[in-house]
Symmetry: C2
Subunit: 459 residues, 2 copies
C-alpha cells in the first residue's frame, strides 16, 4: 500500500471537491427530480436526455444510443494520456413505493442531518454525480483530463440489464478501454472502503402449470381432476433437496470452486454473521453452518435455486374450497463461474421433461453470466491503495458478492479490470423507502474516484 | 314405486302452490333483499330476525337461538299425527362478488325469461320459501298441519357450519324428529330429480412457515438463509405422491369402502364425465381413469388432499429477486366414512413433526365428519317415489356426493334419515354471479316437498 503522504495535487483536488459541493448537490437534485423508474417505463427518455445534457455541460461528447431496450447514454472526452477509463453507471431507479413510508417526497432531494434523501440518490444517481464531480476536480486542477474518459450509462439496470451484453458486443470498438469503474462502491458497517471484484450470474424463470380452463369446487374435483398446485409442488420438489443440493442433472458441471486467493480474501473480510442474524431475526444459517469462512464461501461461491414467489388458488383469510386450475412459481438461480443462464434453462427443461413435468411451462424473465476480476490486477491494487489514502482504512475486498449485475460483458467482452468506488453505505436504503446518501461519504467517494482517475492516468 | 294415479288431495295441493306463486315470489324477494353474507358477517342478525318473522307469519312458533357462532332460527308447529319432520336450511349466503359480473343487482330479485336472479335465490333462500310454500299448501288443503314440523335454519353454512355439531348436541331433545329434509335438492342435467344420501367430511387446514422476520434479497440470502417457500414446498411434497396416494401414516386406517348397494346406485347414475370434461376443459381424469364406475367411485368414496391455495413472496409480473420469509398453503381434506377431521389434524401434525417440519404451523379453518343415510330407509324410498310422481322421471340417487355439509349430527346425533328435495338445477350458479332459480323447478320442487310432507304424515 502507498503511504498516506502529503501530495499537493491531491490536496488541490480534494479542496476543489469540497468547495464545489453545493453545485454538485444542486446537480444531484436536478437528476433525482426525474422519476426514471425502469419497471414502469416512466421518464426514461427524459432522464437519458438530461444525463446527456449534463455530460455535455461538463465538456463531454454525449449521445443517446438506442439499444434493444431503453436508450443508453454514451459519452467520451479526450485526455492527456493514451489510456482510457470507462465508467459504467445507470440512470434508472427502483419504483418509489411504498410512498407512505417516505418522510419526504421521493423525487425531491431533501437534506436532513447530513443525509440527502431521494429515490436513486445512492443507486445510482449519486454515483453519476460523484464521477462528474471527481472528473471536474481533476480536470480543473490539472488543466485537462489526464486520460481518455468514456461513459456508458444505461436505463435498465434495475430490471436486469438484459440488453447490456448485446449492446456491449455491438459497440465493442467504441467502448474499448483499459479499465472500468463500476456503478457502485462505498463503505461497510465499520466505515471501511468496500471493494467487490465479482458478481454471481442470474437465471430468473417462472414455472407455471394450467390443468383446467377454470377452477373447480374441491368437493367436486378433489379426487378426479388434476390440481395445478399439486403439479407445481411436485415439480418444485424435484429441483432441490432438503440438504440444499440442486438436483437438476449437470447443474454443477461447470462450477469453478473459489481459488486459494479468493478464500484468503474472504477470510480477511469482517464477518457480518451477527449483523445478518439480527437484521433478519435468524436462528442460524442454512445447514447449521457456523464456521465463518464456510458461510462466507457458501454465501457467494455456491450457486442457488431460490423460490422467490408462489401463487395458486385462494390466498385470502380462512378457507375457500377451491381446486386451482393454475399455479406458478418464480425461481431465481444465482450462478457462479463458469455457469451460464443458457445451460440452466436447457438443463431445467430437460429435467422437468424427464420427470414427467412436460405440463410445467417455463418463462425466462432474465439472465446474466457470473464474472470476476483478478484480485491482483494492478488497477484493483491502485483502487485499494488510493482507498487507504482517502479513507485512512484498509479496504474490505470481496472476491465475489452474492448479487448480480452486467459485469460479464465488461470483464469478458471488453476485457477490462473493473472496480468499485463510490458513495454507498450500509444505511443507504437502496431499493427501499427513504433511500439516502451521507454527505461525508459522498465527499470521500468522490475524492477516492478522483484519485483513481489521476493515478490511473499516470500509471 | 307408486303409480302416478290421480289423487284429489295432491291435485288440490298442486293447485294451491300454482295459485299462490306470486305471493311466494314476493316473500322470496323480501328474503333475498337482506344481504346476509356470513363470510363478512353482514346483515346476519337482521336476516335471522326476518326468517323468524316469516315463520311466525306462517303460524310457527319461532325463536332466534344463540350458538357459539351466528344465531340459529328454530321454529316448530304441531300437527295432526305424532310424527315429526325436521327441515334443515340456512339463511346465510355466499359473497356477491364479483359484482361487475352480475346482470342485475345481486340483492334485488329480478325475473328474466322464467328465471329469478339474486344471491341466495337458490342457495338457500329459494329452499326456505319452497318449504314454507309447501307447508302452507298442505295445511290449507288439509285444514291443519298433518304432522309436527320443526325448522332449524342456521347462518354459517357458507362458512363451514362449524358450530352445528355442538348446537345439535346441545338441543338434542328440542330437535328430536323422525326424519329430516335437507337444505338442497332439485334436478340433474337431464331434468331428473336428484337424491343425495351422503356427504364427505372435511378438514380444512392452513400450513404456514416463517423463516425470518423480513424478506431478504435473493442475492444476499439465497445460499445461506432458510427460505419459507422451500420449507413449505418440501413439507407439502411429503403429503401426497404423484399417484395421488396420501402419505400421512394411518390416513386410510378408518376408511370404509363403499358397499355393494352403494356401487349399484353409483352404476345406475347417469355419467357426467363428458359434461365435466367439457366444462373444465380436461384431457382426462386423474390417473387416466376412464371406466365409468371407477371415476364415479373415486369422485365420492376416495378421501382427498387438495391444495386450495399457495402464497409466498413475489407474485406480480416479471421478476423480483426476493427470498420470502413467509409461505403458506390452504389444504382441504375430504373425508369418507369413518374418517374424522380430528384424526386428520393429529396424524398430519405427527407426520410433519416426524419429517422434521416442526417449523410448519397448522391452523384448522373448519372440519366436519362424513355421513351417509341408508339408501333403503323408508323415508328415502318415500322421497324417491313422490319424486317420480311429481317429475314423471325416475330419480338419480347418489349414495354419496363429493361435497360436505353438517349432515353428520343430524344423521348420527339425532338419528334421522335425511333426504334432498328442492328447487336447484345444474344452471343455478350457486356461489357464482347471476345465481338463479327457474320458476318451473321452483314449482316442481315445492310440489315434491309438499307430497313428502303429506305422505310422511300418513305413513
Amino acid at each position: 500500500m502507498t503511504s498516506q503522504h502529503a501530495n499537493p495535487i491531491w490536496d488541490k483536488i480534494d479542496a476543489h471537491i469540497d468547495e464545489n459541493v453545493d453545485y454538485w448537490i444542486e446537480q444531484l437534485a436536478r437528476l433525482c427530480a426525474v422519476p426514471s423508474v425502469s419497471a414502469t417505463n416512466e421518464s426514461i427518455e427524459e432522464c437519458a436526455d438530461l444525463v446527456a445534457t449534463m455530460l455535455r455541460e461538463q465538456g463531454f461528447d454525449a449521445e443517446v444510443l438506442p439499444s434493444d431496450g431503453y436508450p443508453v447514454v454514451y459519452a467520451e472526452g479526450g485526455g492527456r494520456s493514451d489510456k482510457t477509463l470507462l465508467f459504467y453507471l445507470h440512470y434508472d431507479v427502483q419504483p418509489a413505493d411504498s410512498l407512505e413510508l417516505w418522510d419526504s417526497p421521493p423525487f425531491e432531494l431533501t437534506e436532513r442531518d447530513g443525509k440527502y434523501y431521494a429515490r436513486g440518490v445512492s443507486d445510482d444517481k449519486g454515483h453519476i454525480i460523484c464521477r462528474l464531480a471527481a472528473l471536474a476536480a481533476v480536470k480543473d486542477v490539472l488543466g485537462t483530463l489526464p486520460c481518455n474518459i468514456k461513459f456508458i450509462i444505461e436505463g435498465e439496470e434495475e430490471i436486469g440489464s438484459s440488453n447490456m451484453p448485446a449492446f456491449v458486443e455491438k459497440h465493442k470498438e467504441k467502448l474499448a478501454a483499459d479499465a472500468c469503474i463500476w456503478e457502485f462502491g462505498g463503505v461497510d458497517y465499520e466505515g471501511r472502503p468496500s471493494q467487490a471484484l465479482g458478481m454471481r450470474g442470474i437465471c430468473f424463470v417462472e414455472l407455471s402449470v394450467q390443468t383446467a380452463s377454470i377452477d373447480a369446487h374441491s368437493g367436486l374435483g378433489g379426487s378426479i381432476f388434476p390440481n395445478a398446485a399439486w403439479r407445481l409442488t411436485w415439480a418444485l420438489s424435484t429441483l432441490k433437496d432438503q440438504n440444499e443440493r440442486i438436483l437438476i442433472p449437470g447443474f454443477y458441471d461447470n462450477v469453478q470452486p473459489p481459488s486459494e486467493r479468493d478464500l484468503e480474501l474472504l477470510a480477511a473480510m469482517p464477518s457480518e454473521a451477527a449483523k445478518l442474524m439480527e437484521t433478519f431475526n435468524l436462528d442460524g444459517f442454512l445447514l447449521g453452518i457456523t464456521d465463518d469462512l464456510e458461510w462466507k464461501k457458501a454465501a457467494v461461491f455456491e450457486p442457488t435455486c431460490t423460490i422467490c414467489g408462489l401463487t395458486s388458488g385462494y390466498q385470502g383469510l380462512g378457507s375457500k374450497t377451491v381446486l386451482p386450475a393454475k399455479a406458478s412459481a418464480k425461481i431465481d438461480f444465482r450462478l457462479v463461474p463458469n455457469q451460464t443462464p443458457e445451460e440452466v434453462v436447457s438443463k431445467l427443461r430437460a429435467h422437468l421433461d424427464a420427470n414427467g413435468f412436460t405440463d410445467v411451462e417455463m418463462t425466462l424473465h432474465g439472465g446474466g453470466r457470473p464474472a470476476k476480476v483478478d484480485p491482483d490486477d494492478p488497477f484493483v491494487q491502485l483502487t485499494n491503495e488510493t482507498a487507504v489514502a482517502v479513507y485512512g482504512k484498509e479496504p474490505s475486498v470481496a472476491p465475489m458478492i452474492g448479487g448480480s449485475g452486467p459485469n460479464y460483458p465488461f470483464i469478458h467482452t471488453l476485457g477490462l479490470p473493473l472496480v468499485a468506488a463510490g458513495v454507498g453505505y450500509p444505511g443507504s436504503q437502496a431499493h427501499a423507502p427513504n433511500e439516502n446518501m451521507r454527505l461525508d461519504y459522498f465527499l470521500l467517494g468522490t475524492k477516492h474516484t478522483a484519485r483513481v482517475i489521476e493515478q490511473f492516468a499516470k500509471g
